[in-house]
């Protein structure tokens, strides 16, 4: 029997996940800058204050390190805080609390302490927000043992992963693409719907090339796959959904079928998610590959403001198509 579905937006998925988990567990609370009275700068948390009150839905000072530290301390002592960092760029201000404190408490204490902290933050360029409000810094925290990282691409994935994150006993980070809050999609109509971390999702099946894509790039990859289809190239789109833990098995099985792989992620290409994934595919799927693993990321420049400059810095379907064509036709990309 299949669960009935409803169509909601990516932003509504956030609100539903938080509300459902707050109803389910009174130790869950939510805090961040402008999240309560204003409902968040992206308006995705409107209504939570009305339902849960100001004790559990808290507007904080603009103090990323302080908020994060308070989240860590509350998580250590019996609560399940959800901390919103408005823009992923601002997470840099809270890095000590995440990297040196939250991520290491369980390990450093020999398993005595746990930090059931959920951090929600945004990534993604494309709205002329310039260099300090547009970055996709998901590689930074994926690098840190002790933190779990989710990077959902659809309303259903966001809702299921956020709910799992709130229930998880570890520090988790959910990277939400700010350009996708209006994106609609079906979600199971079930208050107990969750998605486990470490399970990739095949967003489109194909037999000729594997496109491993994250977040907004899943949609770019799906568009590229439609274009490639017209050329007779069947692209399979694999969405890891979580970067840590990472489901390499699904990716390797896909590459075993297709023999070719391109990795695409919206972050700066150097030293990032694409590098890690490409390296692991090259290492673990070497025997299946008919071509080198290619990667497509953002240009290694600060994200520019001007509409005349910004679009070219972000990977698009045309670039992805050219990259895939290069694997088949020796086309210079």
């Amino acid at each position: 029997m299949s669960t009935p579905e409803r169509v909601i937006t990516y932003g509504e998925a956030v609100r539903e996940a938080i509300a459902e988990e707050m109803r389910r567990d009174e130790t869950v609370f939510f805090m961040g800058e402008d999240v309560a009275a204003a409902g968040g700068v992206f308006k995705v948390t409107v209504g939570l204050l009305d339902e849960f009150g100001e004790d559990r839905v808290r507007d904080t000072p603009i103090s990323e390190a302080g908020i994060m530290g308070a989240g860590v301390g509350a998580a250590l002592t019996g609560m399940r805080p959800i901390v919103e960092i408005m823009f992923g760029d601002f997470i840099t201000i809270a890095m000590d609390q995440i990297v040196n404190q939250a991520a290491k408490m369980c390990y450093m204490t020999g398993g005595q302490a746990m930090v059931p902290l959920t951090i929600r933050t945004t990534i993604g360029a494309g709205r002329s927000s310039a260099a300090q409000h547009s970055q996709s810094l998901q590689a930074w925290l994926s690098h840190i043992p002790g933190v779990k990282v989710a990077i959902p691409s659809t309303p259903a994935d966001l809702k299921g992963l956020l709910k799992t994150s709130i229930r998880d006993d570890n520090p988790t980070v959910i990277y939400e693409d700010k350009m996708m809050y209006g994106l609609k999609g079906p979600v199971p109509d079930d208050d107990d719907y969750t998605i486990p971390f470490g399970v990739a999702d095949i967003k489109r099946e194909g037999s000729d090339v594997t496109l491993v894509a994250t977040s907004s790039m899943v949609h770019t990859a799906l568009k590229a796959a439609d274009m490639l289809d017209k050329e007779g190239i069947g692209a399979e789109v694999v969405d890891p959904r979580t970067l840590s833990p990472l489901d390499m098995d699904t990716i390797i099985r896909s590459v075993e079928k297709t023999s070719r792989a391109v990795v695409v992620d919206e972050a700066y290409q150097s030293y990032g998610v694409t590098g890690e994934l490409a390296s692991r595919i090259a290492d673990e799927a070497f025997d299946y590959l008919d071509a080198p693993v290619k990667r497509v990321g953002a240009m290694d420049v600060p994200v520019p403001f001007s509409p005349g400059l910004e679009p070219q810095t972000i990977p698009d379907e045309a670039k992805l198509v050219r990259t895939v064509q290069g694997l088949f036709h020796d086309v210079t990309v």
């Binding site: 130790t27 509350a74 250590l76 000590d96 040196n100 408490m105 390990y107 450093m108 005595q112 006993d169």
Partner: protein, 339 residues
């Protein structure tokens, strides 16, 4: 300036000991345990039985014990890289601490944390911390948690004069004050942040505690080598915090008799003077407290010797326990990365 923003300077009359005898005995026992423990750490470090860094608390004992003797078992504390004293004062066991110092499996953290990260969650000790100011947010969050759960728990955030210049202090103090959280920010001003005089790098008129005014919280400047004054201040501020009246900043003026860490040379040859150290040695919190107990007739010299002998034996046993404990097996390296 409103009453709550006055800077209150606290010390106690040396001629009296206005605390109940069992409490005085506990305070003395804990202070001397810290002293003997730290002396043992110095010894094992010098013998090469302990690796890494060892930041000794010798000289500051009245601060940790004066504060923690005003707490309940389930109250929280966050500590610092110079944290051994805080842990013992809150009830930490010296054998498991010593085993942790040596990286042994019977250590508090199964050898994974070492001197700078000892925690005992069952005692509300949320951990020493290797980052200066790293525990400020956590203490604030623990206080928030206590308040939200209505548990009546308070959190004590120990930090040094160095951490008062970290941004984390401003963010945590502001948050704690604006949300009236039950947290005591306790600055142990030992006058040196590593190898630099606090007065050279801290923009205050005279006292670190002056900064509390900027956060609308009461401030106390305390003779941090006077266990009675520290304890009495803590009792008052804990009561205030439990009553929902919010955080405070307590500045315990004290001194570390050793260097920043073991093996970093003689401070009196570089960044501080022998004359200054001698002045502070004359205010050693342990003999000071012993004299008051003697004068009050709670103990005599013979008993003081026997207390010392008992503590020394306990610490020696802790060293033996730690020596005999094995290292964790290699397969433990991947345990506890995630809960």
């Amino acid at each position: 300036m409103s009453e709550s923003l006055e800077l209150i300077t606290t010390s106690s009359d040396e001629g009296t000991l206005p605390l109940p005898e069992p409490l005085c005995r506990e305070i003395y026992d804990k202070m001397l345990t810290i002293r003997r423990f730290e002396e043992a750490v110095l010894e094992i470090y010098t013998q090469g039985l302990m690796r890494g860094l060892a930041h000794l608390y010798i000289g500051q004992e009245a601060s940790a014990v004066g504060i923690c003797s005003a707490l309940n078992d389930d109250d929280y504390l966050t500590s610092t890289h110079r944290g051994h004293g805080h842990l013992i004062a809150k009830g930490g066991k010296v054998d498991r601490m010593m085993a942790e110092m040596m990286g042994k499996v019977d250590g508090y953290n199964r050898g994974k944390g070492g001197t700078m990260h000892i925690a005992d969650m069952s005692l509300g000790i949320l951990g020493a911390n290797g980052i200066v100011g790293g525990g400020m947010g956590m203490a604030t969050g623990a206080a928030l948690s206590g308040k939200m759960r209505g548990s009546g728990q308070v959190a004590v955030c120990f930090f040094g004069d160095g951490a008062i210049n970290q941004g984390a202090f401003l963010e945590s103090a502001n948050l704690a004050s604006v949300w009236s959280l039950p947290v005591l920010f306790v600055c142990e001003n030992n006058h040196y942040g590593e190898y630099t005089a606090a007065s050279d790098v801290t923009a205050v008129r005279e006292h670190v505690a002056e900064r509390a005014a900027g956060f609308n919280m009461p401030a106390m400047v305390v003779d941090g080598n006077d266990a009675v004054a520290v304890h009495q201040t803590a009792v008052e501020m804990v009561e205030r915090a439990r009553a929902g009246e919010g955080p405070c900043l307590i500045e315990n003026k004290t001194y570390r008799y050793r260097g920043h860490h073991v093996g970093d040379g003689d401070p009196e040859k570089t960044y501080r003077t022998q004359e200054e150290t001698d002045t502070w040695l004359a205010k050693d919190p342990i003999p000071r407290f012993a004299r008051r107990m003697l004068k009050a007739g709670m103990v005599d010299e013979t008993e003081l010797e026997s207390i010392d002998a008992d503590i020394t034996k306990r610490v020696e046993d802790a060293v033996t326990f730690a020596n005999e404990s094995p290292y964790p097996t290699a397969d433990e390296v991947t345990d506890h990365v995630y809960a």
